[in-house]
């Protein structure tokens, strides 16, 4: 998860979106509730005004004309109640709606001329508004008008609003995230494409990146291409230089060696040192010029390489009359430098031809699971490889010029190339043919 740019961006935007929408929802909810409460207060105020309008004064007493405009006041238990009381605590008038309901009207009086609004959070929550006036000419001068309304319908409205708000914002959020996800996928598509192309490049299925990238990535793609081409060229140049070096050293070495005809002590010494120089040149230069796993390397069909080598070896060793049993599936490919692979298989096969008494077996198979994909087995019916030499050869870092001539030289090259490819070499006895069995695993 933490390695995906898309997941990171999505996570961040989702987080921001959730915080933003929560805050928005809170603010909207508060505003709506405030307006609902203000609406309730306004309604109660209208009730009080209409009550005040219908008050009449008769002989120091307040009377009411019965035509009250608000029908809910006359309907029992309607949720809207009103009362007019004086400062002595006696109720002057009670709305018919409150006759069957226990309504706690506010007691006492407040500062005259001011509306006093409050919320009652009892079993049945209510809003109440009271207004005290000083009515001149009546017995009790302080007259308190009160109106009470049931809070529940307002609460229902608020809950309704909250639900639709939540629903609306939730849908909006999901839509946002979806759009964001799609936008990210679209926006990051070139990166994914590049990753896929680089993978193909690695697998040897393509030679360069395509140029279909947006301008932010085009530079990178071009540079990557340049880098790969440059790397391949440098590698080739390096290799040619080393080959030329080997070539120009080997010929004089051959000349010097062949001119040492007498067997004096001196020439034996020179010949011995020459031998060391030869193996060093042979070994170090071939090691340095080995390609190793290449980016943009070609896929190599093992069967083709092995068939070519076998044809060549059958020509060179025609008088040995070697019979080769082969198990070579046509579809087994590996990645790498063809020359390296040829070197590995060529040395294995040549040893087999050299030491066999007439039967060689070569089998190639694919290995399921793990990093090593291909297995190459070469067996012969020769004398086999002594155990002491096996360890010496397989132990990594054993230098070629420390190994006795013979089978060792070819095998040391194989060991080093196989190590370069992170493969493995195993030497054992062939159960089928009785000679040596060499097993190479390559990625």
């Amino acid at each position: 998860m933490k390695h995906s740019i898309q997941a990171r961006l999505l996570l961040t935007t989702t987080f921001v979106l959730v915080v933003f929408l929560t805050l928005t929802a809170g603010a909207l909810d508060r505003a709506f509730r405030a307006s609902v409460v203000a609406g309730a207060e306004e309604q109660l105020r209208l009730v009080i005004y209409s009550l005040m309008g219908s008050v009449q004064q008769e002989a120091g007493q307040l009377t009411f004309s019965q035509g009250i405009s608000e029908p809910r006041l006359t309907q029992p238990d309607s949720g809207l109640y009103a009362q007019v009381a004086n400062d002595l605590g006696s109720v002057v008038w009670l709305s018919p709606s409150a006759l069957t309901t226990d309504v706690n009207f506010p007691r006492g009086y407040s500062a005259p001329g001011l509306f006093e609004f409050s919320e009652i959070d009892a079993l049945i929550p209510r809003f109440q508004l009271s207004y005290t006036v000083i009515w001149e000419g009546v017995d009790a001068e302080y007259v308190v008008f009160s109106a009470v309304t049931d809070q529940r319908p307002y609460r229902v409205a608020i809950a309704e609003f909250r639900r639709s708000l939540g629903l609306g914002l939730g849908v909006a959020m999901l839509l946002f995230i979806l759009v964001q996800f799609l936008a990210l996928r679209w926006g990051l598509k070139p990166l994914r494409m590049m990753a896929a192309e680089v993978h193909e490049l690695e697998m040897g299925r393509r030679e360069s990146l395509s140029q279909r990238y947006p301008k932010e990535l085009l530079g990178l793609a071009l540079n990557l291409d340049h880098f790969i081409v440059h790397e391949q060229r440098t590698r080739a140049r390096y290799r040619y230089a080393l080959d030329d070096l080997a070539h120009s050293l080997k010929t004089p070495l051959a000349v010097v060696r062949n001119s040492l005809s007498d067997s004096s002590e001196n020439s034996l010494l020179v010949s011995e040192q020459l031998e060391r120089m030869e193996t060093t040149v042979l070994h170090q230069l071939s090691k340095a010029s080995a390609g190793g796993p290449v980016m943009g390397g070609k896929t190599i069909v093992l069967r083709t390489v092995i068939e070519r080598l076998l044809r060549a070896l059958q020509t060179a060793y025609v008088d040995r009359g070697v019979h080769v049993e082969r198990q070579l599936p046509a579809d087994l490919v590996i990645r790498g430098d063809e020359r390296d692979i040829m070197e590995i298989v060529g040395n294995l096969l040549e040893n087999a031809f050299k030491y066999s008494r007439g039967a060689v077996r070569v089998e190639v198979s694919s290995v399921e699971g793990g990093a090593l994909k291909a297995q190459i087995v070469v067996e012969d019916d020769g004398p086999g490889i002594p155990r002491a030499l096996r360890d010496e050869v397989v132990r990594r870092g054993k230098r070629l010029d420390e190994i006795e001539a013979g089978q060792g030289i070819g095998l040391a090259v194989v060991v080093e190339l196989v190590a370069l490819y992170n493969g493995s070499l195993d030497i054992s006895d062939s159960r089928l043919l009785g000679g040596a069995k060499l097993t190479v695993l390559l990625p």
């Binding site: 080959d243 080997a246 070539h247 080997k250 010929t251 004089p252 070495l253 051959a254 000349v255 060696r257 062949n258 001119s259 030869e278 042979l282 071939s286 070519r308 080598l309 044809r311 060549a312 020509t315 060179a316 025609v318 008088d319 063809e338 020359r339 040829m342 070197e343 298989v345 060529g346 040395n347």
Partner: protein, 223 residues
Amino acid sequence: MRMLVVEDEAALRNQLAVHLKSQGFAVDCASDGEEGLYFGREYDYEVAVIDLGLPKLDGLALIAQLRAEQRGFPILVLTARGHWQDKVQGLEAGADDYLAKPFQMEELMARLNALIRRTAGYASPVLCQGALQLDTSKKEVRVADISVELTAFEYRVLEYLMLNPDRVVSKIELTDHLYDQDYDRDSNVIEVFMGRLRKKIAPVDLIRTVRGQGYRFLTDAGD
């Protein structure tokens, strides 16, 4: 035994020429591919040694060209790079064996003799015809298991005839293949040598004179 050496390094070429001549070969040397092609077209050889890295016409192209022109003599490729790719390409172009530089002269000689033998159809380094045995590695001749002393030239004549059995070999061919080019070709000398050789390997009587044409070596199967 006439052979061709195509090698661009003068020092190695001269060394090869000297050594091969000392081993009884008549050697033609070429220093580049084109010269090698010229020699290969003009003369018939028992064997050729061709370096792969040659100026003008590289070794692979030279071999391919020779083979395309039906020149069938065995070719040993010398490669300095020693990579399998070079060896395989050389053999695919038509070479018969390879040797990586730097090499030992003994190794080269063994390979060349083996190639010549192989081409003549002998599997072992000892050529056998009836009671006659010719050991190409020791340069020794035995008749009925008794060693026979031959001069270097007599040996070469016998070896050449045994390597070209059941075929009329003219005197000119013999001198071509056994002497360097500048040798005085007197056919009488050949006849004298041949008479002496026959006596030495008696009672084996496998060399026949084909009047006016040359000599023929009979195998057991032939005649």
